[in-house]
């Protein structure tokens, strides 16, 4: 049985502990051997995306030291996984274990579909759900076909959620427009960021969604912040929180 390292992004650890637990339970439900290495902190993305790449380097090196010993690494975040897979090369190229780590670090849904080969999701979720396809998972990990590309459609999140009994996945006018979180962009470009978020929420509203589901809590934190301020009833949920109550096989 492969040994799986659980990578819980820093802000999920501190601000969304339930999402971490749900991820753990989903993976344990498959009978996998999961371990959460206590030394982990952050993948370094905030520093790297601000241009301060030398401040991110020690975190990339630390990440490799911690996670190199696992067969697979799984995280409930497309963005942090993309950091490892697509951006660590600049600091870690040629280091022992890096290629293995890069090729074996997965976002949760990606892991369930591509590696654990989950084909059946048995459970109930009788809600109207709008799927938020966060950009890094969508376009950097290719978790689904982006609307720009003219290739055969696929979606590794939808394929899991649509099997739940009672779920209604609503149709958005813009299926994969960015919510405007963008890390430090959310603060540095506050006005544009919030307008983008409000536009996303309106799209989910017009489609009749009760829940916005996604695979990156960072985008959902931004949308939740806007929803709460505007006292809107719509809820945000991480996909792991929805799948936690289903049987996957």
């Amino acid at each position: 049985m492969p040994k799986v390292g659980l990578f819980i992004p820093c802000y999920v650890d501190q601000l969304y502990p339930q999402v971490g637990l749900s991820t753990l339970r989903v993976l344990r439900g498959l009978g996998l051997d999961i371990e959460f290495p206590e030394e982990q902190t952050c993948c370094g993305q905030p520093m790297a995306n601000s241009g301060c790449s030398e401040d991110a380097r020690p975190l990339a090196e630390k990440f490799l030291r911690i996670f190199a010993r696992y067969d697979h690494v799984v995280a409930p975040s497309g963005s942090c996984v993309s950091m490892v897979r697509n951006h660590y090369e600049q600091w870690l190229a040629g280091k022992p274990g890096f290629e293995h780590l890069r090729d074996n670090t997965f976002e949760l849904c990606e892991y369930l579909v591509d590696v654990a080969k989950v084909t059946k999701v048995d459970g109930d979720f009788a809600r109207k759900v709008g799927l938020h396809m966060s950009c890094h998972g969508l376009r950097e990990l290719r978790m689904a076909k982006s609307s720009e590309r003219m290739v055969a459609p696929f979606n590794k999140v939808k394929v899991l959620l649509e099997q739940l009994r009672g779920i209604q996945l609503v149709d958005l006018k813009r299926p994969d427009e960015c919510c405007g979180f963008g890390g430090t962009f959310a603060v540095a470009e506050e006005a544009v960021s919030c307008l983008m978020g409000q536009d996303r929420i309106r799209d989910h509203e017009q489609a009749g969604a009760e829940v916005i589901a996604g695979f990156d809590m960072s985008c959902l934190m931004h949308l939740e912040g806007l929803l709460t301020r505007d006292k809107k009833p719509m809820q945000v949920l991480h996909v792991a929180q929805i799948l936690e109550h289903a049987r996957l096989s």
Binding site: Q14, D55, L59, F185, L195
Partner: protein
């Protein structure tokens, strides 16, 4: 110079207009999707176009010289300009040699980049931009706000008002057909009175020594067919090796730009009119330097379709002028700071790095990766504000140490709920201006994990 966020603020503050702008451009993006989806080999075309550009850029000097030889054999005068100033001087000299006082131009972003119009006007030459959108912004004394749709920031009512003042149309008239007719009459006069025509170049073909200009209004043809003198201005990167290569780009350009299968006019110029003269001015203006930078070289593949602007969620909501550079949007945010990192240093940060630009780009420029690489370049060269660099250094130091990270997290989670709201949501907290912070949980994931049954 103001940063992007500051320049964008007034545009965003007029929310109905920002939404109108967003919808107008999204409409073009949807048209593009529809057109692209009718071409089964779309992704192959993109890959081929990208490969042709990479190949051409890898031996650019050879192809440029081949173009020069063939163009010269076609009777075209070829000029080389190191920068915008040289380009402007060459154009002025040609015009003076022919005693030209009135020039008509069809769309050229290169001449915008070189600020040709004010230069020529200062030397007593009347310049008329003949592309309708360009003419509109020229009358308003504004630069284009988009490279393909220069007046996209204006509503038909704005144009009615402008034409009423400039062309004497009825006050309050905003019927597009009526206004276009008025512009057409006005432009006809300018075409008939012109002594020379200047065009941009979409593609220059090395093996044939000719240039190709794509327009929808036929204004390039009018401007080059009536007067005997034609000047075509191009950046060094406009070269393609053979006519076969051109075919690939022509299938991609209009579909990506406006969602049309092809532009209404694709005009090939392979020599002067009988008894006339044709000049091609080839401009570097910093491009050779970009070619030398491995991380940013691919930005020179750009065919100026504007698809990255139409798809960019930030551009759509902040408008072309918020970028402050000739070429706005994602591609401009790479080209601008290449030219002047101090002036345009905020542009690579005017992106959520969503990557839609990369996926829509017909020549597969890895735009959002170049934006990210540019942020690092700017930080290295000291163009990122020290406050940001300092806070990122502190964050890096904290996150590199587990104890510091856990202590910081615990302090945040326990203290935040105890603080008065006015203190948390003061003007120093841009997150909280329109958004709530997430509720602070009592326990972290690793706290809860200890209670989780194995």
């Amino acid at each position: 110079m103001k940063g992007h966020a500051e320049s964008a603020a007034p545009f965003v503050a007029n929310e109905p207009r920002a939404h109108w702008h967003d919808e107008s451009l999204w409409f073009v993006r949807v048209k593009r999707d529809r057109q692209a989806s009718t071409v089964p080999e779309w992704e192959d075309l993109r890959a081929t176009a990208s490969a042709i550009k990479a190949h051409t850029l890898s031996r650019l000097a050879d192809y440029l010289e081949e173009f020069e030889r063939n163009a010269t054999a076609n009777g075209i005068h070829v000029h080389w300009a190191r920068d915008g100033a040289e380009h402007n001087a060459i154009v002025l000299r040609i015009l003076k040699d022919h005693g030209v006082k009135r020039l008509v131009k069809s769309k050229s972003m290169l001449t915008e980049e070189c600020h040709l119009n004010p230069y020529l006007e200062a030397h007593g030459i009347e310049v008329t931009d003949t592309d309708l959108g360009e003419r509109i912004v020229q009358m308003r004394k504004e630069p284009p706000s988009h490279i393909v749709l220069p007046a996209i920031h204006l509503k038909k009512e704005d144009i009615g008002e402008l034409f009423h003042i400039q062309l004497g149309t009825e006050k309050g008239a905003s019927d597009p057909k009526y206004l276009t007719e008025a512009a057409r009459g006005h432009l006809r006069e300018r075409f008939l009175g012109a002594q020379a025509g200047l065009t941009g170049v979409n593609f220059a073909i090395a093996s044939t020594g000719g240039v190709v200009v794509c327009t929808n209004e036929g204004n390039a043809d009018m401007g080059t067919s009536l007067p005997p003198l034609h000047i075509a201005c191009m950046g060094v990167e406009k070269i393609v090796p053979r006519p076969q290569d051109l075919a690939i780009f022509l299938r991609l350009l209009a579909r990506s730009a406006t969602g049309q299968p092809v532009t209404t006019y694709t005009s090939h110029f392979h020599g002067p009119l009988p008894g006339g003269e044709m000049h091609v001015v080839i401009v570097d203006n910093g491009r050779a330097r970009i070619l030398g930078e491995e991380a940013f070289r691919r930005s020179l593949s750009c065919i100026r379709c504007g698809a990255c602007m139409n798809t960019c969620p930030v551009y759509r909501r902040s408008g072309g002028y918020s970028y402050g550079y000739t070429v706005p949007g994602p591609i401009g945010s790479i080209l601008g700071p290449q030219r002047d990192p101090a002036a345009y240093g905020s542009l690579p940060f005017a992106s959520s790095l969503c990557g839609s630009c990369t996926d829509v780009c017909p020549v597969k420029i890895d735009l959002h990766h170049e934006l990210l690489a540019f942020r690092q370049e700017l930080a290295k060269k000291g163009h990122v504000p020290w406050q940001k660099r300092f806070s990122m250094w502190v964050m890096g130091q904290v996150l590199a140490r587990k104890w510091a990270f856990l202590l910081g997290g615990r302090l945040m989670r326990t203290l935040m709920p105890l603080l008065p709201r006015a203190l948390v949501y003061g003007p120093w907290n841009p997150w909280g201006k329109q958004r709530e912070l997430p509720p602070m949980p009592k326990e972290s994931f690793r706290d809860l994990l200890k209670k989780e049954p194995k």
